[in-house]
Amino acid sequence: MTENRPANPTVNTAGYEVPPELRQNIAITTLDKIWNMGRRYSVWPMMFGLACCAIEMICTAASRYDLARFGMEVMRPSPRQSDLMIVSGTVTKKMIPQIVRLYNQMPEPKYVLSMGACASGGGPFKEGYNVVSGVDQYVPVDVYIPGCPPTPQALLNGLMKIQEKIDSESITKVRWYRKGEIPEIPVPLLGPDIIDPRENAMIKEYTSKPAPVPLAANPQAPATPPAAATS
């Protein structure tokens, strides 16, 4: 019976040979694999939905597809307790400051899954005046799922990709156990258009320049310096 079962990927893959008489009693693994196994089967998504993709996400969490099979059934309504942010739907310019704040409030390790065309690249609203064309312009995205909307099975496939990503991480290399603080992402400001604080230097440099003189109003402007023209 045990021979037919698929091999457990966590146990006895550390590269050490276990003698046959001890196989019932001893299992050798690496710390990374144990650590990653614990993390990959307890990814708690944050409970928030933005648009129609959220309906598919709700369907995925319900009993037909059942996220609980992956240990993800605990949808947390607080960013402090969640590991995964499923950006499910169109990200409007009014919503992106809140999304960045929620991302900043999540404790490490944290993952972002961009669900559907709108969240990944703007989708049909890419040219819209009020839509961010891709949430990855603001928060680092780990997995992208194309589709409009992705079916529940496509979302499950994306969640399994998140698990794959968790498996590939090593306890010695992850950013949240390094020395030093992880910088927060500055929250964009909602104005007449969205303002990203990371671009403040560029905006200041651009606005401090003198306004270009229109060519039609002053055809000699490039030839004569402005000081000479006023005197």
Binding site: R69, G121, G122, K126, I145, P146, G158, K161
Partner: protein
Amino acid sequence: MYGIGVLKGMWVTLVHFIQTFVDDIKWAGKRYYTPEGIAHRSSKDTKGIFTVQYPEEKLPVPEEFRYIPILLQEEDEHGNLHDRCTSCGICAKVCPPQCIWIVRTEDPVTKRPVPEPVDFFIDVDICMNCGYCAEYCPFDAIKMDHDYELATFDRHVQNIYNKEKLSKPVSYYAKIRPTNYAREEALRAAEAAKKVEAAAAKAAPAS
């Protein structure tokens, strides 16, 4: 007496719990991982667990299910693949989110346009799976695929599909949409026959 409602609710839960095992025993191991089992669990008559165990078994998609577009390629008798696409650009014009780019080409000698596109890009992070491209294509060259397992780690590299990634042989289309394929092939054959007839009628009075 208080608590009757709670007891009634728990009774319903208990009945469901028992029915799960009853149904599993009735199907004797064939309830999971078999097409009949999936069909039974998707039907309204099912009792007990109806979860689709996704990575191991998949809910069959209906024939008209549509996801990302594909480009069809005809295979000739020598095994070479030829695009049905003539790079006319109708799909790129009707595409509501404008996610299609076609690179046209011309013959280096005669300077006349070559009907097959050099490259064909679809940004799947803009595509809204509406199927207008497939509806409007006059050559039945672009069709909607059934494959939904497309999650990637990097969208700028992997999510802009080129012609190589989009192209599929016609046999693949015949497999995923047999009814549509049969109907379209009948129409194409009828049109070809009409063309032959018209050519014959044109040739007859002249002779």
